[in-house]
């Protein structure tokens, strides 16, 4: 897989700082999982966090803090190491962080009809942590021209599309500035499936609204 479009360095830095909402964070992780370039960049940004932790003003800890910590490691000694189970990835198009969320292959997704040639599938995230969903668009379809109100990330999982900013295929991420207006056209002969994250939950309505607008005139 050759990746041509990566998240903005500012987005990777925010991911490393832990300040992206869950929806955006999962989308970055999904890309980072298959992109060694961005993984290295995230590690560099995390080193900033490490430096700031080292430089943090030390404050007094509880008088029994060390004794407590030593007791805790002893009682944890026999316990299994806190290793998480790897998600069962049944679909090569799904990097691990997304495979875990979906728990199914892309072929078994239950799609919701949005408009002719456009279907979507909501992915659960914690309350107040943005919205995350898959969008499936038929070949040749052009999405209505739209801008981006706030933070929004799109990662292509299958198929491809093109717009004024370039061509996007599997693994690519569109991390567009607010100012950019674009009208992506699916140029693959298969459906284009992408993962979309928006910052605020209300943004979801915005995106769907924009999609519906040309069909229903709302």
């Amino acid at each position: 897989m050759s990746i041509h479009h990566h998240p903005d360095d500012a987005t990777l830095t925010a991911y490393a700082a832990g300040t992206l909402s869950e929806a955006l964070s999962v989308t970055v992780a999904t890309h980072v999982a298959i992109c060694p370039r961005c993984r290295a960049r995230v590690r560099t940004a995390e080193a900033v966090g490490g430096t700031l932790l080292r430089e943090a003003e030390p404050v007094a800890i509880g008088a029994d803090a060390l004794a407590r910590a030593m007791a805790r490691i002893e009682s944890s000694a026999g316990a299994p190491i806190d290793v998480i189970e790897r998600p069962a990835v049944a679909d090569k198009r799904l990097p691990a962080p997304l495979a875990r969320r979906l728990g199914t292959s892309l072929d078994d997704i239950r799609w919701r009809w949005i408009a002719p040639g456009v279907r979507s599938h909501d992915i659960a995230v914690s309350p107040d942590s943005g919205s995350l969903f898959l969008l499936r668009i038929a070949p040749g379809k052009t999405m209505p021209e739209h801008g981006h109100g706030g933070a929004e990330l799109t990662m292509i999982l299958d198929g491809s599309y093109s717009d004024v900013t370039g061509r996007y295929g599997p693994g690519d991420v569109a991390d567009l500035d607010e100012e950019i207006e674009h009208a992506p056209k699916v140029d693959s002969d298969i459906d284009c499936i992408c993962l979309i994250a928006t910052e605020a939950p209300t943004r979801f309505k915005g995106v769907i609204g924009r999609l519906l607008q040309p069909y229903f005139g709302i």
Partner: protein, 184 residues
């Protein structure tokens, strides 16, 4: 500090753990309090962070940089999990992936020792590069890593367009990366 972590990982060395705790515990607590946690909560999260350092030590690997960077990511994830009540499994999935890649390295111990040196250089370089940042760039970096503010929150606090916050953060990042690449 990184060598302490290697001793914990390889030999479950309690003396090394104690040294690591004495050094990091007051800083982790201070770091968390700076983010708005009260003393009691910060102490709790600090204890949980340090317990994770022990239980996950074998998952620490060279690619993760210095001990303080790795501990930072543990504290970051615990904080998101407890305070924002959001899932952090996706961070673990990315780490897990790197660990399986490292497993293929032929001589892990040698790599780890070389890397301890690199990690300590990295630490100094980042610290220096941070000091050299223009104040407006250092400010957005601190607001995100220390105060835990999103880019939109920073934009609101500073009365700046989101695009300006993003470009300051991007510029800061580029400078830090250049500093690391030119020296390592």
């Amino acid at each position: 500090m990184t060598s302490l972590l290697v001793r914990i990982a390889e030999h479950r060395d309690r003396d090394a753990y104690q040294d690591l705790f004495v050094h990091f515990a007051p800083r982790i607590k201070g770091f968390l309090m700076r983010k708005g946690a009260d003393s009691e909560l910060a102490e709790e999260l600090m204890q949980d962070t340090m317990l994770s350092v022990w239980t996950k030590a074998s998952m620490y690997h060279p690619g993760r940089g210095s001990a303080s960077t790795w501990i930072f990511t543990i504290a970051r994830n615990l904080r998101i999990d407890r305070l924002r009540r959001e899932s952090v499994r996706h961070f673990d999935d990315v780490d897990d992936l790197e660990i399986s890649e490292d497993d293929t390295a032929s001589d892990v111990t040698v790599v780890a020792q070389d890397d301890a040196v690199i990690a300590s250089q990295e630490r100094q370089l980042v610290a220096r590069a941070m000091q050299d940042l223009p104040s407006e760039q250092a400010q957005v970096i601190r607001m995100s890593f220390v105060d835990d503010l999103s880019q939109s929150d920073i934009a609101e606090r500073l009365s700046l367009p989101l695009g300006t916050v993003k470009s300051r953060m991007r510029l800061a990042y580029i400078k830090l990366r250049q500093a690391l690449e030119s020296e390592l």
